[in-house]
């Protein structure tokens, strides 16, 4: 099967890669672009470990074909921080110890960023439903939700 040439934008930089027609975007990101922050927990859209943002929308990269990335703007966990400066969501995850094994963390941070970009002032229940597609088996979500609410407050300029 011949590989296809894909031109896209990843984390603000133009990017191109070759992909087999059946290759998932997650595999292309990890294996072709060496962006291994996004993880595969299921490959079927059920765990959210592979979450990325495509044109401002939260997407499971395991469910998108690599060739479908053509012409779109992709943000992965690697593009969330501003250079060496962590995104407030990342900082709050650290401060609240909102991770144990960390396997779910890239997906959860990307999903939280996607939430707060659109809805800067979610209720706890709204945050919980938004993140319901991101499984974490280690933490019981308590510290994750605290980190999310705290990051939201900081980004709105209120001290929680």
């Amino acid at each position: 099967m011949s590989k296809q040439h894909v031109t896209t934008t990843i984390n603000g930089e133009p990017a191109e890669f070759l992909a087999e027609p059946f290759m998932s975007l997650l595999d292309a990101l990890r294996d072709e672009m060496h962006l291994t922050g996004s993880k595969e927990g299921c490959g079927s859209g059920d765990c959210g470990a592979c979450s990325i943002i495509v044109d401002g929308r939260l997407v499971c990269s395991c469910l998108m074909l690599a060739v479908e990335a053509e012409g779109h703007e992709i943000i992965t966990i690697e593009g969330v921080a501003n250079g060496d400066e962590l995104h407030p969501v990342q900082r709050k995850f650290l401060e609240h110890a909102a991770l144990q094994c960390g396997y779910c963390t890239p997906g959860l941070i990307v999903a939280t960023k996607a939430l707060l970009d659109r809805h800067p002032n979610p209720t706890e229940t709204e945050a919980r439903y938004w993140l319901a597609g991101n499984l974490c088996r280690c933490t019981g979500y308590d510290k994750i939700i605290r980190a999310v609410m705290d990051a939201a407050a900081e980004m709105r300029g209120v001290t929680a």
């Binding site: 087999e20 059946f22 993880k39 595969e40 927990g41 299921c42 490959g43 079927s44 059920d46 765990c47 470990a49 609240h96 110890a97 144990q100 094994c101 960390g102 396997y103 779910c104 229940t125 945050a127 919980r128 439903y129 993140l131 319901a132 597609g133 991101n134 499984l135 974490c136 088996r137 280690c138 933490t139 019981g140 979500y141 308590d142 510290k143 994750i144 939700i145 605290r146």
Partner: protein, 643 residues
């Protein structure tokens, strides 16, 4: 058996399609009680029940019988004013770590091998691979990859030996990755089981007799956690008359693997549900009933140990006084309480402390970090050396670079590996004092160590300026060479863990759906080295227990095929299923650990199923003895009650 290696997974998949397998369908048995019946299809002709008298002479699916006994239960029941009995069942559930199993291996033409894999113990990986492939341990170097959750399920090998065999044949590195479906179908869930419980008590709540009979699924080969299930299920109580009998039973299911506090959540679901029934029958507050019978220092358990320095009554006291316990409840809401016990273990660990030339410190241990243990190691070493924790960098060494270290499991790492690291740091501190004494040309007894500095003491006090660790490190070459220590221990005296959980639920009378409204988990943690990670262990364990209580189960069709091998149908708790989980840490220090630590990771999964069941009993007035307590089961139970 067949295995395929290819240059891409697509080619490997295509090659697998070409393999034709013919199956002969033999009689099979899935259910544990069915497997024990006379005439059940026998899985192994050479399996005879161990632990019975007279010795078994015919093959059986019962691999083992275990029994624990104190006093005389018949006499105890004769004394009882009130007796409760119940029959409880639980289903097989999976650890459901989010990272699937994966490895990369190379076997060189000289036999030297390198394994990168995610496991709870790379020394275990090395040992299994060497044994299965007939190799020397020293020919295999197993590297600890970061691990994306394990919960007991990554304490055995699945892929590594196969990848090694393929690498050996091809002369190429081999990578193997499981799909999520592979993980559910071919890696170990924990047992489902049946538990029959009987309790007798005086009117004042004193338990006069207790019995439990446990039958656990082992999967196709022996090895269920029925023994720890037996040992833990009444360990919270000071019982004079008790018998506990357990059966390890094989059936045509996947071989089970360890899952967080193996066995205890299953058996304790039954015994702590029965305690709730007993409290109801006696008209007693469930915490008061537990206090009346609580194990204390000096209590002898049915499995033989006499407790010391335990904090169970303190968890009950804290539960009783917590505002959660007396908060008002609304319609269709109920509150449940349950306790749990886990031994915690010690065992073999190695820790090394290296002082670098610039005064920073590196720590190496052999324990894969599954929940933040590296941070705790750094904190313990920093405390001993009196330096900021930022100066300490903890890493995990591979099998060739650090001494043998047993698995990360049994809630042992902060205790046992922490002990090795602490002792190594103490040796380094003594060495630093010796070096300072050499530089100052005074006796070592005349040097103290304070806040990361050597200070002259005694007659020399004030005679020299304090010498910081970094200054001593700089002169190491002149004072005897590198400043390092490596300590190996076989740690004994892990302090047992006790927990008491309070759970509020609301049951939707129409759908039978249970919402957990509020959850408080109280636990004796010894001393919390890294309090927010300890809280995280408590919250994570409670959440897994809530999933086990309400949703999770392996569902088989009539042919014995797993129907729900994916996260969509095997539903672990998601963020919107959960409330905040308040972790309350009680500190009854463990005198056998330099900082008083007790294992904390496992006991939090023990009480939740009974806590949820007891809360549901409170909400709808029905005892749910069968897990999971999913909406259809609750609906059916409510319909049956309504007649």
């Amino acid at each position: 058996m067949a295995a395929v290696a290819a240059t891409s997974s697509a080619i490997a998949d295509a090659a697998l399609e070409l393999i034709e397998v013919k199956y002969e369908i033999l009689p099979f048995v899935i259910d544990v009680e069915d497997a024990m019946l006379p005439g059940a299809p026998i899985l192994h002709d050479d399996l005879f029940t161990a632990g019975v008298e007279p010795k078994a002479t015919t093959a059986s699916n019962i691999a083992k019988r275990v029994a624990f006994k104190l006093g005389d239960v018949d006499a105890g029941f004769a004394e009882a004013d009130v007796v409760v009995e119940g029959y409880y069942t639980t289903q097989a559930v999976h650890q459901a770590y989010i990272e699937p199993h994966a490895c990369v291996v190379t076997v060189g033409s000289d036999g030297q091998s390198l394994i990168y894999s995610s496991s709870q113990g790379h020394f275990m990986v090395r040992a299994y691979c060497a044994k299965l492939l007939g190799m020397e341990l020293s020919d295999i170097r197993a590297m600890p990859s970061e691990i994306g959750g394990g919960f007991g399920g990554k304490t055995v090998v699945y892929l590594e030996p196969i990848a090694m065999a393929l690498s050996k044949q091809t002369g190429r590195p081999v990578k193997m990755v499981m799909t999520r479906e592979d993980v559910f179908r071919s890696t170990g869930p924990t047992s489902g089981g049946t538990i029959a419980v009987k309790l007798g008590a005086k009117k004042d709540g004193t338990i006069t007799a207790a019995t439990a009979v446990l039958k656990f699924q082992a999967g196709a080969f022996p090895g269920s956690p029925v023994q720890p299930g037996c040992m833990t299920c009444f360990a919270m109580y000071d019982l004079k008359n008790v018998t506990i009998t357990g059966y390890d039973v094989v059936s045509n299911r996947p071989k089970v693997a360890a899952y967080r506090a193996p066995g205890a959540p299953i058996s304790t679901f039954a015994t702590e549900s029965a305690m709730d029934e007993l409290a109801l029958k006696l008209g007693m507050d469930p915490i008061a009933l537990r206090e009346k019978n609580a194990a204390k220092d000096g209590t002898k358990t049915a499995y033989g140990v006499t407790f010391q320095n335990i904090g169970y009554t303190q968890t009950l006291e804290a539960a009783k006084n917590h505002p959660h316990y007396t908060a008002p409840l609304g319609p269709n809401q109920g509150r449940g309480v349950a306790s749990g016990f886990w031994f915690n273990i010690g065992g073999e660990s190695t820790g090394a402390v290296h002082v670098n030339e610039d005064g920073s410190v590196s720590i190496v241990t052999g324990s894969p970090d599954i929940g933040g243990s590296r941070a705790s190691m750094a904190m313990m070493a920093a405390e001993v050396l009196g330096i900021p924790v930022e100066k300490v960098r903890p890493v995990i060494g591979d099998t060739a670079t650090i001494g043998f270290t047993h698995l990360t499991g049994g809630s042992r790492v902060t205790f046992a590996t922490g002990m090795a690291v602490t002792q190594a740091a103490e040796r380094v501190r003594d060495d630093l004092k010796k070096r300072a004494a050499m530089i100052w040309e005074i006796p070592v007894e005349a040097v103290d160590w304070k806040d990361g500095e050597a200070v002259p003491a005694g007659a020399n006090a004030g005679g020299f300026d304090p010498m910081p660790l970094a200054a001593i490190a700089l002169k190491a070459a002149k004072t005897g060479g590198p400043i390092i220590a490596e300590v190996s221990v076989n740690a004994q005296g892990a302090g047992p863990g006790f927990a008491t959980h309070i759970c509020d639920v609301e049951v939707d009378p129409e759908t039978g759906h249970t919402t957990v409204l509020r959850y408080t988990a109280i636990q004796d943690v010894g001393r919390a080295i890294h309090p927010s990670y300890v809280e995280g262990q408590i919250q994570g364990g409670a959440a897994q227990g809530i999933g086990w209580a309400l949703n999770e189960e392996y569902i088989y069709d009539k042919q014995g095929k797993l129907d729900n091998a994916g996260f969509l149908d095997y539903r672990v708790p998601v963020a919107s299923d959960m409330p905040m989980i308040e972790a309350v840490m009680i500190e009854v220090p463990n005198p056998r650990h330099p900082f008083g630590a007790k294992g904390v990771g496992e006991v939090p999964i023990v009480p939740p199923m009974a806590a949820v069941a007891n809360a549901i009993r409170g909400a709808i007035g029905i005892r749910m003895p069968h897990l999971p307590m999913s909406p259809p089961k609750l609906r059916a139970a409510m319909d049956a009650k309504a007649g």
